[in-house]
Amino acid sequence: MSLAHTHTAPAAASRPSRLRKAMRDGRLTTILFFLPPALMLFTLFVFMPLLEGAWYSGFKWSGYGEGPTDWVGSRNFERLTKHSTFMRSFNNTLVFVGVALLLQIPLGMAMALLIYRKSKSNTFFRLVFFVPFILAEVATGLIWSFIFDGDYGVTSIFTTWFGWEQVYPLADRTWAMPVLLLVFVWKYFGFHMMIFIAALQSIPDDLIEAARIDGGTPWQITRYIQIPMLKPAIVVSVFFAVVGSLQLFDLIIPLTRGGPSNTTHTLVSYLYNFGLVRQKVGFGSSVGVVLFIVSFVFAFSYRRFVMRQGEK
């Protein structure tokens, strides 16, 4: 008891002085000016919709009217677990995450290692590889759906030229998903490449030079110096890759619309198709809740266990 008293007294005494200091150096003014708008926007556009989504997930509601009234409890979630298309969509989303981690990031890193040095040709290649990332997702989807159009697209020109049979990979249940993965890798590897290029350029030249003088081969320099020093960039890249894969939607709709036979849906395209399009706002919200939980658990754990370790 006395200990607690002894400890709290100086803390209480220091509070007014900290407040005075904050008032003097302008921090308090900054907080009072900038925090409320940010908090308001966050509450309005993030926190409130999240709560609303969670609330709606317990209802059967078409989206019309003042609000939901037909409470169904956990029925929407029970349906999700029994719906084979949802399970497939969940699985597809995990495949996208896996491909992002195992193909997209390594490819981005490999390209970065090849072209990180400053030269005119490297600048040109950097631009070429980064352009897909700048392209709007919907435009990308439309471009690739034209490429894979076996009747009027680029594929058709090639098959006609070589006298081969026309191919329609997006119409094939086996090939539609690999095509999506190909476009997905092509679209986003440039983003990771740029992160790695920035990180590689920050590695001191004398470190590489010293390794070279010590007889290190290019592979040894990459393996034992550059890649270990890229760790902070890898940590950030992995975070963006996973979160981006979980939210993947815009590529799916123009390319396959989740077909053929709902085999290429991701969690978000499933939510859109089976929630919004079918006017089942409650059911769609339950998908949103699942997606939020998955994203939150990942983001929280990653920040707690991986990013914090990196900071140490």
Partner: protein
């Protein structure tokens, strides 16, 4: 002097907005692909504005899918449209029950607007005897075919009377090496046409109503499973153009216009649409295209004269002004509808508006609608969730991804959840 000047400025400031701010009538439409229709709508809009000074009609266009998804939110926002496009069907009742529509029964009667439309059309926009909108056009889905390719394949589609006749001709055409059927399975609804029309031919007009009410096993009844079986029979013949699962409806118009296949089950709009989208910019002439009604299924309870297609029009949103209803009456009134019919955009619904319809295929469709024993409206007769399952299973049936029994179980499962 200074006080007077300030008073004058204040009075001017107050009066300016009343002069400049016009009464707005906001109209939300789906995108139209018919060449010249947007210009026609502009003319209709300007004529109304000229006759009603101070009124500003604003028409916004949205593609079908975005329209369907955004409408529920839009109708509850301050920026809601006064008038919005509607495919009619079951959704009108849902919208009316949620209070997002204006009851225009009395107003449309008093202005003589309602009298310009027949009961059939008005019924599509009425719920419990209350009128919430007005129809604009109907469409009729039929089997269109390429006469030249049919002759080359050695078939005569004019002889098609039954579903078996059709399947027989499909088989013959397939053997000749010409793709017998063009279909846009990526959009799903063109495939659903087959499922819906087979259901009508097998069960008659009560098939949907009984299933929705859950009678005889609902959508899993033997008659519905038989419907699915018949559709699967078509799919088993593998009669579709290569890559049909990744083919959109828009692309099928081009394929039909480019003469890449023989049959296409579609509304009468296909005839003008294939001309607009064919690679050579011309497509086929009316004379090069033949048309037959959807065949009957032997032993089925359906009436061969029953038609299937759209009954599209406009709904008035809650709180819309009388001016908005006046514009609707002007837009879908006999005079403008007659012009639209004459321009070949669609089959107008206003009484007496079909006198200028000249297109031979539009006339054929109008005649079929005229002698129809009953007109089923697309998937919109169903709750959107059940309709979406119907779209899914139709594609899965023709591609062999699901058995007829499982397909109908899925539809019934969705019905039970409603």
């Amino acid at each position: 002097m200074r006080t007077k000047l300030i008073s004058l400025m204040a009075a001017t400031a107050i009066s300016i907005p009343t002069v400049l701010v016009a009464e707005e009538v906001k109209v939300l439409s789906i995108v139209t692909n018919r060449a010249g229709e947007v210009e026609y709508i502009d003319r209709v809009e300007k004529a109304f504005e000229a006759a009603n000074p101070g009124v500003d009609v604003i028409v916004e266009y949205m593609d079908d899918e975005s329209f369907k998804v955004k409408l529920p939110t839009l109708l509850q926002s301050k920026g809601k449209p006064d008038l919005f496009f509607s495919f009619s069907g079951g959704l009108v009742a849902e919208q009316a029950s949620q209070g997002v529509l204006r009851d225009i029964t009395d107003y449309a009667e008093s202005t003589g607007c309602a009298a310009m439309h027949g009961e059939g059309g008005k019924n599509a926009y009425s719920v419990d005897g209350k009128l919430y909108g007005l129809p604009m056009y109907a469409s009729n889905v039929a089997l269109w075919y390429n006469k030249r390719l049919a002759a080359e394949a050695g078939i005569n589609p004019e002889e098609i009377k039954t579903w078996d006749d059709f399947l027989g001709q499909v088989e013959t055409a397939k053997a000749s090496g010409i793709p017998p059927v063009i279909i846009g399975a990526k959009d799903k609804w063109p495939v659903m046409f087959y499922h819906a029309m087979l259901a009508d031919r097998i069960m008659g007009p009560d098939g949907y109503a009984k299933a929705v009410a859950g009678e005889d096993g609902g959508f899993a009844s033997e008659a519905w499973v038989e419907t699915a079986r018949q559709l699967k029979r078509l799919g088993d013949l593998e009669p579709f153009q290569p890559g049909y699962l990744d083919t959109t409806y828009d692309k099928t118009q081009t394929l039909f216009g480019d003469q890449k296949g023989i049959f296409m089950l579609m509304g009468e709009w296909l005839v003008s649409a294939q001309r607009a989208t064919a690679t050579d910019g011309k497509g086929m002439t009316n004379e090069e295209i033949g048309v037959v009604s959807f065949p009957v299924v032997e032993g089925g309870a359906g009436n061969p004269k029953a038609t299937y297609g759209g009954m599209n029009g406009w709904l008035v949103s809650a709180g819309a002004s009388d001016t908005a209803v006046d514009f609707l009456c002007h837009y879908v009134g006999t005079e403008n509808q007659t012009e639209a019919g004459g321009l070949g955009f669609f089959l107008p619904m206003a009484i007496g508006a079909d006198e200028l319809v000249e297109d031979s295929h539009n006339k054929w469709s109008a005649a079929r609608l005229g002698e129809s024993s009953g007109h089923t409206v697309f998937d919109q007769n169903l709750n959107p969730a059940i309709a979406a399952v119907q779209l899914d299973i139709a594609v899965d049936l023709i591609s062999g991804a699901v058995s007829p029994e499982d397909a109908q179980d899925l539809m019934e499962e969705e019905r039970q959840l409603q």
